[in-house]
Symmetry: D2
Subunit: 334 residues, 4 copies
């Protein structure tokens, strides 16, 4: 009898997130001067940014656009062979879009859409960051000097996407991308999947899918920036408040993920989390933690509850913009 | 032309460390009452312990013995097939010892020795911790209540072994266990490998090999316990000092690993680190960071320098005990 | 021309707070096992407690009573002469009650009531804490070993009292006790004083008067326990939650006082704050900071807003118990 | 029988420190860009600086000079009458120098020298800081926006002076300035006073006298800048190291004062401490904590020991510059 196939482990990590903003100058001010990120590159309508601890040359691409929201999300493959395998599998299942030549800092990328229509890509080759003299760290294993500017976020950590149907997108991430399901919110006696948290590596989650209460496709709930200490999140709250940035929720402690966080809106309207703590998952047989209505509660372990806007607001904000509808393939690999 | 073989990724994580102690009662007091760990099981001469955040039923096995030092170190395989592959590979290369039946909390284990002679094992099946009522956490994703006792370490993090020849043992870990080399200290223009830090996953290192200046085999430099915040390391320094425990070095910040740490001696004589911070490695093509004499300096980024004892002292302490000499196979897979 | 008289500076500091509880055993568990305080003495229906950093033998007296609320609040005079001066001044203004012999740990005390009727006392002689062997610290300037138990609060910090008329009680504290007004909330174009924060020393406030929205007398809003780091407040939130203690608000940052805090209810029903940060006031000519409706906002600088219960609930809870009415002298020293 | 006179309490707080530097531009860079202080005023050869939490318009005066060291140290009186009393008392005892007109931000100042010859002044009137629009805080009780620049020190905290004879200077501070002795190091069975820590208010110490092992007069050991959290000291260590600033000692925890600290050298050569924690003293009858040779140990509670330079080096550095000898009055008020 043949053994069960071993799980797919072709994706190594989240690579980069493209954020769309109708206010590019103000958004740049937010990420560079308030969060303390560095500009690595500028190209036309896009600015490429990085945290001082990001080893890749850039992990955040800020692109001027008519509406806010998320552009292309890229994932790094574990090897050249893994990249080819994922490209073939995605194409075979009908999610594939095309190969593209290099975007700044990344090699050939196979583009695809998740079942909800979010634009994604997978690549292997990545340009390492080499700091110019004035940004060289005195720590040999730190890619860039700790400039201590503003909230001084260390690196991009994860993102959360809204979608019409969490289960479908979650299964896509598990089966086609090989992500492990870490936690999931199941309401109505398990029949309604409100949100799911997934990861291709030890980081608690690098991708979350949460149901879009407005029934749209392709929207962004938030991106998340890592700081090393809970105290850094508190300090970020001071920095954001002194700079007139709206803090929607937190500093508080999530129940799912256990992370300590705050949520702000960058000037372009996108929700940005400052995030620390959480826990690593190293178990190959991790059993997803499930939360029902009672266990989920107000969405926090302690600290101020998540407000209604946390459910209602996402980008693009479809009170103003039409839904990003698109014809998406049905995910049914069976 | 055939593509290069993909790297071995059969080990998921460090599983457990057996620590030998000539003062088992005092060592138990140290780990339970001062570090705040829980006793999960007792069996003959051994006590099985866990941090409140360890998902496995136990990650530290404390065994009464004539001398201090390290017993068997176990690694968890990524799948049942991965376990079989590693067992076959280790046996084929002459490092294999035998299969054993289950130790507490772990399934069938293939035992082997590293080139320096340290006793190791690899297994797949693992017993998850299920807390009794009085230790159940109010956080559903936390395996056990945060009791806040003493230094309240969260989980076992890594260990550092001494060996006669770092390069040989490091290559063994890379090639036979599939670990990625993260950082290495190379003195004398690269000809002398003083120490190397390796990991099978995103944790910066779960295993370090450091040269044994006394030329012995099979000794332990330290085991390391994780706390979530740098502030917790400072608090641990208060707790240890109030309990009369010797702090050998730190709180300080390592240059390699960037971690914030302190080193204490548990009553049995073994060196125990309290550790936080560091950085995750998610790159499949990570280039090891190398440190020469000048870059290594005093071994710290800032804070009190590592003392001479940090080089000279290890367990068993061969000023008192004879070296753990043994006939070890030469690792030369080429 | 005669110079203006120098300000009264006869009170050195808050001495102790007596807390009334209808559930003395559970309240004791809360303060000793959850907050980590030590029992210094037991006498009849009262238990005398202390934080590890309190230099006095006790700063919190827990007394079993039919209702929750505050008992006698004592203030330490700056000198024997200062004690006599305050006793004479309080008596002359009609607030005096009587001299009493020693309560545990304190010398002769002159009792009085504030205009709202809260029971207070002023004393000079105080018993220093001398730790028994098992509680002796390894730090010579720390009165007691840091036991690291539970939230491990360091010392009593301040209290907030409700009253019918804030202005009257605030002027009493300024003029008869010599406290400096630090901050005040003035609504309705300055005509309504919602709350005032006062102190006899550099601590931001040791006494707050806040208006009782239920129009009662003599009630307690909260007592407050100090921890050294904001991170300790976060840790306390974990400890309280794991022990099933209700956190009413926070961790958040106050706008007035700038302190980082959380509020819990001890089992007897009294509100207890865990508190850190804030700022010292060393200026003899400090100009009180005033907050109007807009500036006060939700009562926080950032973090979860103060809930309605923060205004409505106090002890004794007069939804269940009749108001502690009493005939109080009118404070009109002019 | 006449009662004992009440203690002198005429000094409210440390007002400002003048620091002399042979490298004014580099020193300014250190305090403004690395420590994150603000320039409040410039006048000739002096720049007036402040921490974001200093209520006075300036607390640090940086003056270009041939040698490093300390200029004039000013103390704020508790009232106009207190200023007159101190001026008369200092003049009567032979320590007085002269009244001066206003230095920036401070009213009429009576100048004097301590027994060791350090230049000091006492004043009452002080200019409060009013932030320009771009530096206005969103916190009404914070005098200036938290800019989060560099180490972002909050305020000036204290200073330590070297002197030939600690006991003489300590008694001067106690008897003529009314400071309370908080801690003292007494070697050789109490016959040799190595150092003493004093304060006019609840802050643990605002002035320390330490013996000058080179037998000189009028030298400075260090000035100290406050940050709110121990974590901020760790962060400062990162900031200083990234900026190439030498850290002489720490981050570590003092035994006396319990404070968490690091010491750096600013480019002009003066030692600057980054400091947090410690404890408040509110007792009018505080018994000084004494430390003998054994208790003092390496000068730390935990963390790296204080190095030899901590004893040997001070400013001006008399290995290069001649001692600042001066004819000082003998303090013998009896």
């Amino acid at each position: 009898m043949a053994a069960a196939p071993e799980p797919v482990r072709d994706i190594a990590t989240l690579g980069s997130i493209e954020l769309l903003t109708p206010k590019p100058q103000q958004s740049l001010w937010y990420f560079r001067d308030v969060l303390g990120m560095e500009v690595a590159h500028t190209d036309g309508n896009s600015v490429y940014l990085r945290g001082y601890g990001d080893f890749a040359v850039s992990t955040l691409k800020l692109t001027g656009a008519k509406h806010s929201g998320v552009g292309t999300i890229t994932w790094r493959a574990a090897s050249p062979a893994a990249l080819q395998r994922r490209a073939r599998a995605l194409e075979a299942c009908g999610f594939g879009v095309r190969w593209s030549e290099n975007d700044f800092g990344r090699g050939p990328t196979y583009h695809f859409r998740d079942p909800d229509g979010h634009s994604m890509g997978v690549y292997y080759e990545e340009q390492k960051y080499v700091a110019p003299d004035d940004l060289r760290s005195t720590l040999k294993n730190l890619p860039q000097k700790y400039t201590a500017r503003g909230a001084a976020v260390r690196r991009s950590d994860h993102l959360a996407l809204l979608c019409k149907d969490v289960a479908t997108n979650r299964r896509f991430a598990q089966e086609l991308l090989g992500f492990q399901l870490r936690e999931t919110i199941l309401f109505e006696k398990g029949s309604f999947e409100l949100g799911s948290w997934l990861s291709p590596n030890a980081v608690h989650h690098q991708l979350a899918y949460v149901v879009d209460v407005k029934g749209a496709n392709g929207r962004l709930h938030h991106i998340s920036m890592w700081v090393d200490q809970r105290e850094d999140v508190l300090r970020a709250a001071d920095v954001l408040t002194e700079n007139g940035i709206f803090i929607e929720a937190g500093p508080s402690k999530h129940n799912n993920s256990q992370a300590f966080y705050l949520y702000s809106y960058e000037p372009g309207g996108n929700r940005v989390e400052i995030y620390s703590g959480s826990y690593l998952v190293l178990s190959p047989d991790w059993e997803p933690v499930t939360w029902d209505e009672d266990e989920r509660g107000t969405g926090v372990y302690w600290g101020g509850a998540l407000p209604e806007s946390f459910i209602q607001y996402a980008t693009p904000d479809i009170a103003q913009a039409a839904p990003v509808g698109r014809d998406v393939p049905v995910f049914d690999p069976a």
